[in-house]
């Protein structure tokens, strides 16, 4: 599955089959007219509630894409199960280029989780064609400003003193924000209770409402609250310090061999015709270079970390293996 050529060939064949079916039904009923694409609004599925990383990236992205394609790009929220609901919806959508998916790092883990619980996977990585990666930044561990912790060590000490009393919020079981926290807790030997929510946005809400005391968040979703001083960053999960948070030490500096990035990428369902995917790649390349998009990303403390299909595919293959390892190392969470 890590051979990119294979995937491309197959999606081409499926695409051709779809086109052929469309032709036999009559012209104009499907993706046969790729050069005109898009002729109507494109829906981008955001599998998380508003305020999460996929959401805050997808909306400005849609806004800069619209003038390029001269068609509306509608963001549709299909939240639930740490992003599995929206992913499953997109995997089963008609592969005509009018339903796309904006998903994050956790897209790689769902099949592994299903395997862990002996369930039939809802979808696998093969159900999607990667189009482009838009941002990738290290996650950051933040605490509520009502908590006294100024450093990660203070947080660790307090959590050791009171096992199973502190609560951390996440974007859902095995979600993108559960994995890094679980890895950290394991490395530090801590017992902290888990409050799963439906996405990065509600996870931040739970944190600033002090229903949870700690959270590993994407910089994008927490930047506004960090600037306002409602949440305090203690450590980042990058190899080097994040450009927008130069004062926050990395986990590596603090003695934990942890690295975890939250990236947001654009996907198309398997079977989307190759010409349409190419068009989407061109559009995306143009959109991410606009000043408006860069400004919007700056506003949420992100740099554009654009990767085109080939590069993104290679990156994703490596990243997915790490995520699958993380899921396995956390193991079965009761429920």
């Amino acid at each position: 599955m890590s051979n990119p050529g294979q995937i491309d060939r197959r999606s081409l064949m499926v695409g051709a089959a779809v086109s052929a079916t469309a032709l036999s039904l009559g012209p104009g009923s499907g993706p046969a007219l790729a050069e005109d694409y898009p002729t109507r609004a494109i829906t981008v599925i955001n599998p998380f509630p508003p305020g999460g990383a996929a959401d805050v990236v997808a909306r400005p992205f849609a806004a800069v894409v619209e003038p390029i394609i001269k068609q509306p790009m509608v963001i549709e929220t299909k939240a639930g199960a740490a992003g599995a609901v929206g992913g499953q919806f997109a995997a089963n959508a008609k592969p005509d280029g009018y339903t796309l998916l904006m998903h994050i790092v956790s897209i790689s883990g769902f099949a592994e989780v299903d395997r862990l619980f002996g369930r039939k996977p809802k979808f696998t990585r093969d159900d999607f064609i990667p189009v482009a990666r838009l941002i990738a930044d290290p996650c950051v561990l933040v605490v509520n400003d009502k908590q006294p912790y100024k450093t990660l060590q203070e947080f660790i000490d307090d959590a050791k003193k009171r096992p199973n009393e502190l609560i951390f919020s996440s974007s859902g079981l095995y979600g993108a924000l559960h994995l890094p926290m679980a890895l950290f807790l394991k490395a530090a030997g801590l017992q902290v209770r888990h409050l799963p929510t439906a996405g990065g946005g509600p996870a931040v809400t739970a944190l600033i409402g002090n229903n949870a005391q700690a959270l590993v968040s994407s910089i994008a979703a927490a930047s506004g609250q960090m600037k306002a001083g409602r949440v305090r960053p203690l450590a980042s999960f990058g190899a080097t310090r994040a450009p927008s948070l130069p004062d926050v030490p990395t986990m590596k500096e603090l003695g934990f061999d942890l690295e975890y990035y939250l990236w947001v990428g654009l996907f198309a369902p398997k079977g989307t015709p190759e010409p349409i995917v190419t068009k989407l790649r061109d559009v995306t390349r143009e959109a991410v270079k606009t000043e408006a998009f860069e400004k919007a990303m700056k506003n949420i403390g992100q740099d554009v970390a654009y990767q085109d299909q080939a590069e993104f595919k290679a990156f994703w293959d490596v990243d997915a293996r790490r995520i699958e390892d993380a899921v396995r190392s956390i193991g079965k969470v009761e429920g």
């Binding site: 959401d55 806004a63 639930g80 609250q225 919007a296």
Partner: protein
């Protein structure tokens, strides 16, 4: 306070500029249009007009986008009242008494009351937004999972007052609604539940297909054309406006609905959906003539419509005060701010007072505009009812199909709508009321999520619901209401519900 007043003046000086007014009007117009048509919500409207906003400065863009948002709330009641098609969850309660009023020839009055109620509630919401957004935002943050659970349980307790059928029937319907709400992928663990290998069921049964089926199509199935005399449904032009008695009956519910809706709206999360249900139940509880509900009670239109509008204004509080988007629509607005280089968040008000106060002032203006836009349209809409029924109902069937399909572009949703239409027809034969079922469906995912989150937070101890102050108060209200109704049940004096139960027990029907 004086500072607020000055800021508001600054806001009005922005909002009343002719060019800003023009964009507000465009937003309101498109909003009314998309709100009226089933299946096309404010989100689509905003997305349609979003490209237009690129060249604009932040204030104009936001004013126009906000216009679409609250404009669509006004339009939402039209199809509910005239055709019994609820375009969204919030309009379900309006269907019941609104359509009953239409059948009595008071459709115009119902539309007017809905418009005026929306206006009052919207304006009230904006005033509250002006005065108390920051402290309210902080209060709303106190709503964690336990508080949410308590609020929803309160909603379920109110359910007893929601329906004209007996308590057992109401609770049975609500439980079936809860069950239907659990179809699909479990939002916490990712397990598939009752999806029967239909991938489209993964994200559950939509509220719109179920509500449109139960109410819109169900109504048509149980109304054979020969039993309809067109005279009943086409009112004279002079009867369009509500009469004095109707105004008087609407006044208090509009006031209560505004307060209730706003309070529920500020809670981050999806609680605003239940505001119209709660308002309906509250009005029935307080009414001197609860048996009128379901047969065209004015309060049954005025309360929920106001609550729904106030809640949508309240939803701006967490966004403006805390920088938290609480729903898809506020998220679109936040994205618009981001694109224009304004980072939303707690600093928005201090760093960009012209945008914030211009936005607030434009909501005052927009509400006046919408009222002026909607009242004259009432006459136009009501003339739809002049179409003979044998031509009208095929039209309604078409709109049911189109509206449901447009929501997700999913034909499975249309099949669900059809199945629910048949189900609604059978329910009616057995004298069940579908409204509690829809409420159950709406709250099932939120109730399940918040209950499970609470238990996770407390490590399995139920005490969490009484240890936290807000949750404890809500639970106490629940208990009080239960005790009250138990007392009145024991007394059985002049209780309309007791009479109903007696009727049901005997062979009266």
């Amino acid at each position: 306070m004086e500072a607020t007043f000055d800021s508001l003046l600054l806001g009005f000086s922005v909002a009343l500029r002719p060019d800003v007014l023009l964009y507000a009007f465009m937003g309101c117009l498109v909003g009314t249009l998309v709100g009226m048509l089933p299946g096309i919500g404010p989100l689509a409207g905003i997305s349609i007009l979003l490209p237009v906003t690129f060249g604009l400065d932040a204030t104009k863009a936001i004013v126009m986008l906000a216009g679409i948002y609250y404009g669509s709330q006004y339009g939402g009641s039209t199809t509910s009242i005239l055709m019994r098609i609820p375009g969204e969850a919030a309009s379900v309660m309006t269907c019941i008494d609104g359509y009953a009023m239409t059948q009595k020839g008071r459709g115009g009055a119902a539309l007017c009351i809905a418009a005026v109620g929306s206006f009052v509630a919207g304006t009230f919401g904006v005033i509250m937004l002006t005065l108390v957004a920051p402290p309210l935002g902080t209060f709303a943050l106190g709503f964690g999972p336990p508080e949410f659970t308590a609020l929803l349980v309160l909603g379920l307790v109110f359910l007893a007052y929601m329906s004209a059928t007996s308590l057992v029937r109401t609770l049975l319907m609500a439980s079936i609604g809860l069950l239907l709400g659990m179809v699909g992928i479990d939002v916490m663990t990712g397990h598939f539940r009752w999806a029967f290998d239909i991938p489209e069921l993964g994200d559950g049964l939509g509220i719109v297909p179920v509500a449109v089926g139960l109410f819109g199509l169900g109504e048509i199935l149980s109304t054979p054309s020969r039993s309809v005399t067109t005279k009943v449904v086409s009112p004279k032009l002079s009867e369009l406006l509500p009469n004095r008695a109707e105004w008087r009956a609407a006044a208090a519910p509009i006031g209560r609905g505004s307060v209730l809706g706003f309070v529920i709206g500020i809670v981050p999360g999806s609680a605003h959906i239940i505001s119209s249900f709660l308002s309906y139940a509250l009005e029935r509880r307080l009414s001197k003539t609860p048996e009128e509900f379901g047969k065209g009670a004015v309060a049954g239109v005025a309360g929920p419509e106001s609550a729904n509008n106030a809640a949508s204004t309240g939803a701006f509080v967490p966004m403006l005060a805390l920088g938290l988007p609480t729903g898809p629509v506020t998220a679109v607005l936040m994205a618009a701010l981001l694109i224009h280089g304004i980072p939303p968040g707690p600093q928005l008000v201090t760093e960009h007072p012209d945008v914030f106060w211009g936005f607030v002032a434009s909501m005052y203006v927009g509400n006046v505009m919408l009222l002026a836009l909607n009242l004259p349209l009432v006459g136009l809409f009501v003339s739809v009812l002049r179409i003979p029924y044998s031509y009208l109902y095929p039209l309604i069937v078409m709109f049911c199909i189109v509206g449901v399909y447009e929501v997700n572009h999913s034909i499975v949703d249309v099949w669900i709508m059809l199945a629910m239409g048949v189900f609604g027809w059978v329910l009616r034969k057995f004298d069940f009321d579908p409204a509690p079922l829809v409420l159950g469906l709406v709250i099932a995912p939120i109730l399940e999520m918040s209950l499970r989150q609470s238990l996770v937070m407390s490590n399995g101890h139920w005490g969490i619901f009484v240890q936290r102050p807000i949750a404890a108060v809500l639970i106490a209200i629940c208990a009080g209401l239960l005790v009250l109704s138990a007392v009145s049940m024991l007394r059985r004096r002049n209780d309309w519900r007791a009479r109903l139960a007696a009727e049901e027990a005997g062979d009266a029907a």
